[in-house]
């Protein structure tokens, strides 16, 4: 059922005028005849609106830094911010040296009133010393939360002094939650810090194996990265580092040795991807390992980049074998999913990626959007020059890197690069819009009111989103699938992941539990029941 502009206007009319004017620009009905359709994104959420968005700290420490397993991550602030980012994102990590795997630890300076009044620098310095003494990590990160910036603690100075004292790298991130308008600001801040301090700090000039690559923007939720790595290694690639799922300080240091950078989540990591290209001459390829077809296409694009007949042959071999294995499994689930419709509203890339996997199962995505993406994630990177910086984006510094004199190396001739760019998404992302069907809807920063209204109007069979709206949706009798945490399942990436996803989604459709919502007495008048059974006079 397609929606009309009038229906959307009607829905928005309930808003106060200012809100209505604002939200209108965040909602677009896809119309390919209209050319490139502009959507507003990465702007402030209006106060009072029940949004799914989080803060810069969540994007920095929670998303990008958190999965780095061999660093201890200290949160400088009152207790809560650290507490909520402890183990909640399902970044799986294993380590050959379990004594250096800090994934299950949560460290906070637990600022008290006196720290707010007199400053928390001394306490932070002490916590760093204690952490270094107890855990002996290779490196430490310090992430700031809201009060830190306000009271003027200089975490950079504290980190620098501690670094000199302790002899290990200590990275400070000024990712106070009020910066920017969402998690997105934090991704950027984390990207800058990792690029400045970690990537390229290693001694190696060359990777250890053939076809060395980095996987960027892959956080190993539910083991996604392991499934991707399994496939890549079977084809013959050498994974130098993953940013940052099951990632490590150790591996990241030598990320400059890769010949190609794969970008899975464009939003959270495109900064590093761009900077790696400038600094080392390594292009990045937009990949998508969600769904069988997208995975196969990504593998083929990679092969095209390396342009080696043996690699291409091996790629086809692996694809053929994997398809033969998973297709019959998917087929059985397709029967349960065919003809259904989905809403797909997730953070910054999954809102796009999962549409393909839904389609493979015969499910049409009728509404999609991102929580914290920018316009380029919808409209494609060509829109970037058009995006104006505003007061909120201005306060996230851009890191300007230049070519590394010693290590910069063009990976191929400019001519071949240009030719390749015409064939594959090299250093390019086309955005979500391109893949949406006419009449479907894109909504940026979808909020609670709109969620309810769109559900009533479009009646999707499944709603893919996060924990905060999951039970709202399910109360309406519609299965909700968390695509941040996968409802504690996974992996969902790669070939095996597609099967897992199909299984889980089908389970949502066929679970007998939905059949009990209406009690039997709602369908039977009281009197007939009692007369026949009891013979009531």
């Amino acid at each position: 059922m397609a929606m009309t502009l009038e229906q959307i206007s009607e829905m928005l009319a309930k808003y106060p005028v200012k809100v209505e004017k604002n939200r209108k620009k965040h909602i677009v009905i896809k119309d390919s005849a209209a050319g490139r359709q502009e959507i507003e994104a990465n702007t402030r959420t209006i106060p009072g609106i029940i949004t799914n968005r989080g803060c810069a700290y969540a994007g920095c420490k929670g998303v990008v830094l958190g999965p780095l397993k061999d660093m201890v991550h200290i949160t400088h602030g009152p207790i809560g911010c650290a507490f909520y980012t402890w183990g909640a994102r399902r970044n799986k990590a294993r380590s050959e040296d379990p004594g250096q795997n800090f994934m299950n630890y949560c460290v906070s300076t637990d600022m008290q009133e006196s720290d707010i009044v007199f400053g928390g620098e001394k306490k932070l310095a002490k916590v760093i010393d204690e952490v270094a003494e107890i855990f002996k990590p290779k490196a430490i990160t310090v992430s700031a939360t809201c009060p830190v910036g306000l009271i003027g603690d200089d975490i950079n100075a504290v980190a620098k002094a501690a670094e000199e004292r302790l002899g290990i790298p200590i990275l400070a991130f000024s990712c106070e939650g009020y910066k920017g308008v969402s998690q997105s600001a934090g991704h950027h801040i984390a990207n800058n810090g990792l690029m400045e301090r970690v990537i390229g700090a290693g001694e190696r000039e060359e990777a250890d194996g053939k076809y060395p690559i980095n996987i960027l923007g892959e956080y190993n939720i539910g083991g996604d990265s392991w499934e991707i790595e399994r496939i890549l290694e079977e084809v013959g690639y050498t994974v130098v580092s993953v940013m940052t799922g099951d990632g490590s300080y150790e591996d990241l240091q030598n990320a400059h040795t890769a010949e190609l950078n794969l970008v899975q989540c464009h939003r959270s990591i495109n900064y590093i991807a761009g900077m790696l290209e400038t600094k080392y001459g390594t292009p990045w390829l937009k990949v998508n390992f969600i769904g069988v077809a997208a995975t196969a296409e990504s593998l083929r694009n990679m092969a095209a980049y390396f342009d080696d007949p043996a690699l291409t042959a091996r790629t086809e071999e692996v694809i053929a074998r994997e398809l033969a294995r998973v297709e019959p499994q998917l087929e059985q689930y397709r029967k349960l999913c065919e003809g259904k419709t989905a809403f797909c509203f997730v953070g910054g890339s999954r809102g796009h990626h999962y549409q393909g996997l839904f389609a493979e199962l015969g499910i049409d995505t009728v509404l999609a959007g991102y929580e914290f993406a920018h316009r380029d994630d919808y409209e494609g990177r060509e829109v970037i020059p058009e995006i104006k910086t505003d007061a909120d984006s201005k306060n996230i510094p851009d890191l300007h890197v230049s070519a590394d004199e010693r290590r910069f190396r063009l990976k191929m001739s400019p001519e071949r690069l240009a030719e390749l760019k015409r064939q594959i998404p090299l250093s390019y992302y086309a955005g979500m819009n391109a893949d949406m069907a006419d009449g479907t809807i894109m909504v940026d920063d979808l909020n609670h009111y709109e969620t309810e209204e769109f559900i009533k109007l479009l009646k999707p069979d499944i709603f893919a989103s996060g924990i905060k709206d999951k039970y709202v949706v399910q109360k309406m009798g519609i299965p909700a699938k968390q695509l941040h945490s996968y409802d504690y399942s996974g992996p969902y990436a790669g070939f095996n992941g597609a099967v897992n996803f199909a299984r889980d989604v089908s389970m949502g459709f066929v679970s007998p539990t939905w059949n009990f919502i209406v009690p039997p007495w709602k369908d039977e008048p009281l009197l007939t029941g009692s007369v026949t059974e009891e013979g009531v006079a």
Binding site: P78, I79, N104, K126, P147
Partner: protein
Amino acid sequence: MLDATPKEFNERTSGGMINPAKTCQPIGAMYAALGVHGCLPHSHGSQGCCSFHRMHLTRHFRDPVMASTSSFTEGASVFGGGANLKTAIKNIFQIYNPEIIAVHTTCLTETIGDDIPSIIKEADIPEGKVVFHANTPSYQGSHITGFSNMTKAMVGYFAEASAAIKKEQVNLIPGFVNPGDMREIKRIAHLMGAPFIMFPDTSGVVDTPMTGEFVMFPKGGTTLGELGDSGNSKLTVALGRFASSDAAEALAKKCKVPAVTLKTPIGIKATDALVMALRRAFVREVPWELEEERGQLVDIMTDTHFHFHGKKVAIFGDPDIVTGLAEFAVSLGMAPVHVLTGTPGGAIGSDVGSFEEDIAAIVGQAGLKANIKAGGDLFTLHQLIKNEPVDLLIGNTYGKYIARAEDVPFVRVGFPILDRSVHSYLPVVGYRGAMRLIEMIAGALLDRQDRDAADEDFELVM
């Protein structure tokens, strides 16, 4: 698992936390505010805090947790959030139409010093609608403090001694417990024939039934009328010193309602104390139904005492819950050897007593000694367990890391529980809650015994 935690104690004087056993005030305030009927909690700060708090509450209750935020940007952080809050209030009433908005602050707004009452006064509040607030700086206390502060704010804003003589009714302040616990406390009060006002009351709000329809403001929650009328009650029973006594004292001061503070009624002794308090206040004999339940509980305790007696247990979590659990463990003949809360031992700004003293008294009466710590963290608890191993660990979900690392049977009680369901629907309070605790504890201990037994020692009857 947790391989980086050494057995030797390190000197830690920084005051930093490693694997905390507490979280921040606003989440407690948000939870308390959900216990008011028709109320939308509002987090005045950046949207990250609100997102985190909703996330964690939702994971614990597996039910919608609605709350809004002032969505601060850097500008608001520098120039103050008055405009943000006023805009938020306007938008919330027009779009979501709650009866009440409960504003709580965050570290950010506390640090910049936003004056909430003045902002509320200037805000555009539709006729008949209400906005109230609590200050909840997370650099003091814990989520329990936040719960306490919001509960106290309900008294400050709404309670009124409007009747000339006090009514035959009791105020029950349940503390930071699950809706299942609140329902059980209410059931006991019903059985005792005691008319009551419970506040806050999240039953019917975060344990709502599946009806095929989403209701933003469900049936449950204490009504504004009831909150007002709480000033006319003849008694307040505050359950749990840390979460509930502040509000009770405020009510005593404001409306001259006498207050008694009891332990959270976990276990037989604390439940007896609640029943006795109601019996005295209403001069009602304890009905057979309740006496029968108690008798059943004692029957179970005596029948199964050999499962528990002498077993060493470590307990952690929120102070009121831990106190109740420790007391019940002692009643069962168990030995609490490590007892820890992340919340500081004396709640800020009130004269509630020390957690350490309470626990020492409980274990002391049984001739036992324990490592007792308030304001502690799970890193410390883990080290304590490494040095003096235990047979059982009781606490919230975060204990599962230690339980796995040390291979200790683990019973989940408290907040948050993120990896199991149903816990929020069923009580741990009251006589029936005590039975449930025994079932959980015995299950964990005996499952372990079964798992570890050699074939020839594997028992059919236990």
